[in-house]
Amino acid sequence: MSKLLEFLNVTKVYTSGSFFSKPTSTTALSNLSLTLNENEPTILTVAGESGSGKTTLAMLLLGFINPTSGQIIYKGQDISTLKGEDRITFRREVQAVFQDPFGVFNPFYPVDHLLSVPIKRFNLAKSKTEARDKMVEALTAVGLHPQDILGRFPHQLSGGQRQRINVARALLLQPKLLVADEPVSMVDASLRANILETLRTLQTNYGVSIIYITHDLTTAYHIAKSIIVLYRGSVMEAGDVDDVIKHPQHPYTQLLIDSIPWPDLSRRWGETEIKARESESSDIITGCRFYSRCPFAMEECTQTPPLYRLSEHQAAGCYLFKQNPTIEPGQLSELLPV
């Protein structure tokens, strides 16, 4: 089984501060290992609140920034060393859909521009008619009517339509991997369903693996197979999305799930108490990242906890489960069902 993408002990540290002041560093992602296989398209959710390192993960994956340590391997090659032909292939096969469906369009061009540029860049079509056929096909695949879309300007379309054009653009390039960074957070609730449905069709019908980055665990639950919960760059809990969301074990995941406002009157939120977050800039190097807010904080939590295996498809990085066997960070992917 060949590997599509591999994260090998990837760490990203941001340092700030000028020559004169003491530099401060923030670990945005700490020692993450992850593998996605080529012939098992899956949807993996990376969840966490703001500042948890979700977007850093997306940026690393797309090769926009380089990891501080560790390697990101795409089809056997480190993506930071890709050159020439290989780099273009990588750019085509790994696509992204970003949060803001308003920001990615150039208001001076009709929306066709967003679709025709990649066709030209990657030489996907030999003639104008072929290019147009491809655009029509991609738009139809995401559930839009091409005659309503082509030739229109961005301001004439709704947020949901624009976001689906983004998905269509990604689809046009027949990617192997799609990084969706909060694709529905700026879209109306009634249109979210359509976009999520589109993403899922991509996975089932076109065999695209999707990394779905979000803070919204409700949509994560509906679309994904597996989930990784991050908090300040560390993995708190990971596993099958059903297990993690229905039976969260880590105190942080419990807090997150308990804070979801479910549209369900019999399920009230707010069972667990919220501890205020300490200053954002301070970065405790050692110990559990959740220590200062955890209701169960113990003495040993000042040491970084390993991941403890709770069941076949669930693990939590918390000393509350120290009677369970530990797993190496590199084995994280084994927990995640595809």
């Binding site: 609140e49 703001s50 709704s158 947020g159 949901g160 339509q161 109306d188 609730a189 009634s190 249109l191 979210r192 369903a193 359509n194 999520l196 449905e197 899922r200 803070h215 919204d216 665990l217 409700t218 949509t219 639950y221 509906h222 679309i223 059903d242 969301i245 229905k246 807090l255 997150l256 804070s259 979801i260 406002p261 479910w262 549209p263 369900d264 009157l265 009230r268 939120w269 707010g270 919220i274 977050r277 954002e280």
Partner: protein
């Protein structure tokens, strides 16, 4: 109990180059003290316009065309500009979307709060207004030390709570919160909503929560009003709305919600919300409605009270009124 807020037939239009767009088309509702109303709808349905109209903050090319907003017996639409300035914050407070970005970055939090107090009453002493501000900060669970801080020293959730503190400084009777948590993550969101809940009970204000997150509505409000193309389609208690929505649009909205039982089932609402400049004839929802009848295409349904106390505007329920 007398309602603290009465909106009667409020109308707002925007005059654009392409014609007149009716953003708010005869909205009426009542709200009792300490009641919490959720106002939901897709973007462009007129939610924010309604908030701005209640505050009389509609800017040209928009105009309030008619109707009344009565807060505690005072008709806000009849006040002079000067009186309206005083009424804002002391009678009716508005926490806009992304309020946390409205704090002045070069002024301390305390100075900004005292500014608001002095704008309404110059006779208050400095010590007194400091104490008022400190108490407001405490009531939103912030430390008194925040008074001396600058906005950049606070996290997003804390800034949002500062804005709530400013909103309740003069103990208004009505608080309008326009998507107060849309930029925050779930944990902070819960914290902010719990704060609003607490302070509104303390000062006995009515709250209008604007948003499109039905989950948040289910957890927070007492009544839900659903807006579509500038009109109210249904107003009922949160229990009725979630267990038995009546208007087809409200029904579709409720059924499009993800929950834990129906994993993987996505049900959107077919079609798109119409542009305000080209509204369909009759009931504006009829092109997307699955129960559409002949009458819906020509005649606009009345917004009327049903036997069980809820309000619906749909021809399906005309007989029950």
């Amino acid at each position: 109990m007398d309602p603290v807020l009465r909106i009667i037939n409020l109308q707002v239009s925007y005059y654009t180059d392409a014609g007149r767009a009716t953003a708010l088309d005869g909205v009426s509702l009542e709200l009792n003290p300490v009641e919490k109303l959720g106002l939901v709808g897709e973007s462009g349905s007129g939610k924010s316009t309604m908030a701005l109209a209640m505050m009389r903050m509609i800017k040209p090319p928009g105009r309030i065309e008619g109707g009344q907003v009565i807060v505690g017996g005072t008709d806000l639409t009849a006040l002079s500009e000067e009186e309206m300035l005083k009424a804002r914050l002391s009678k009716i407070a508005y926490i806009p979307q992304g309020a946390m970005n409205s704090l002045n970055p070069v002024m301390r939090i305390g100075a900004q709060m005292m500014d608001a107090i002095f704008a309404h009453d110059k006779s208050i002493s400095k010590d007194e207004s400091t104490e008022m501000s400190m108490q407001a900060l405490e009531s939103v669970d912030l430390k008194r030390s925040v008074f001396r801080m600058y906005p950049h020293e606070l996290s997003g959730g804390m800034k949002q709570r500062v804005c709530i503190a400013i909103g309740i400084l003069l103990k208004p009777q009505v608080i309008i919160a326009d998507e107060p948590t849309s930029a925050l993550d779930v944990v902070t969101q819960r914290q902010v909503m719990e704060t609003i809940d607490k302070v509104q009970a303390q000062i006995g204000a009515a709250v209008i929560l604007i948003g499109h997150d039905m989950g948040l509505m289910a957890q927070f409000v007492d009544k839900v009003a659903v807006m579509y193309t500038g009109q109210l389609t249904e107003l009922s208690t949160v229990k009725d709305m979630f267990t038995n929505p009546m208007h087809p649009y409200a029904k579709a909205l409720i059924h499009s919600l993800p929950n834990l039982e129906n994993k993987g089932v996505f049900q959107g609402i077919p079609g798109l919300a119409p542009a305000l400049l080209r509204l369909p004839s009759g009931c504006t929802f009829h092109p997307r409605c699955e129960h559409v009848m002949e009458i819906c295409k020509s005649q606009r349904p009345k917004y009327q009270r049903l036997a069980d106390g809820r309000y619906v505007s749909c021809h399906l329920f005309t007989d029950n009124a």
